[in-house]
Amino acid sequence: MKHNLVLRFITKYLFPVIALFALYVQFHGDYGPGGGFQAGVILSVAFILYAMVFGMESMEKVLPLGLLRTLASTGVLIYAATGVTTLLMGGNFLDYDILSQLPIQGQHIGIMIIELGVGITVSAVMLIIFYAFTDRRNYD
């Protein structure tokens, strides 16, 4: 696909749009359809489009596999840390009401942080799966 001039050009224009749309879906989970999981998948789709058109070598320079592994575990850590924080502040595990003076605002903040963790983990894991698909050592 690298020989195709039109595809290369349009990918360059489409990547920022898809990635920004993914982040929009990430942060507007409570206003419309969306949330962490969907946003993570859309974000990884943007990177997969880039990887397919420009080749895996460029992709591994943009996002190395080691960084992706770190990100995948960071997302889980954010999730767990939020739960432990509420526990330390005197509530139950993932009891968002404690996070702020107003329970509603606390729930808002809590869900946003949790969704952020989910989004990071899902997009990193999706990309790790894609890397595993394209790994030539398992074939041949």
């Binding site: 050009f9 990547f15 920022p16 942060f27």
Partner: protein, 164 residues
């Protein structure tokens, strides 16, 4: 250097406008999240630009607007032609495969040219390179129309894009 900075600033502004159009919320929280998201995306796209050494200009000119008007008129007339051919009984098409010389000098103009040929029903651009463009057309009339160079003349070209 200055070109890269200009490119990134225009990309940031366009992406933030897109965020604002999608979200439509005036919250402080949402606006700051929008700025953060835009900067993250611009950072990744800058990284990609430096890795594969391809930068693409984002310029909106009055010329482009005029070209869009021209293109939409072409698309509508070509649509009517193809629909007529679909419903005409018997032998209704005369497919052609031919080459046109590439008159455009910059990659951006080449891509706009190829995509507008494809967007017009009745002609599909099959192959693009620096020297020529191969087109498959549904009828002899639309092939002759392309050969006359009306479309090629209408595509706007900015010589400054070459400095990428």
């Amino acid at each position: 250097m200055s070109y890269t900075v200009k490119h990134n600033i225009s990309l940031t502004v366009l992406l933030f406008a897109l965020w604002f159009g999608l979200s439509g919320l005036f919250d402080v929280l949402m606006l700051s999240l929008g700025i953060a998201s835009t900067l993250l995306v611009v950072y990744f796209s800058y990284r990609m630009d430096t890795i594969d050494r391809q930068k693409h200009p984002a310029r909106l000119t009055l010329q482009l607007l005029r070209f869009w008007l021209f293109l939409s008129r072409e698309v509508i007339s070509a649509n009517i032609d193809v629909v007529r051919r679909i419903f005409r009984p018997g032998k209704n098409i005369s497919p052609q495969l031919f080459q046109l010389p590439m008159t455009k000098k910059t990659d951006l103009a080449r891509v706009i040219y190829a995509n507008s040929i494809t967007l017009t029903p009745g002609t599909v651009c099959v192959k693009v390179n620096r020297k020529a463009i191969t087109v498959h057309s549904l009828s002899k009339e639309s092939a002759d129309d392309l050969r006359s160079g009306r479309m090629a003349d209408a595509v706007p070209e900015d010589e400054r894009d070459e400095e990428t």
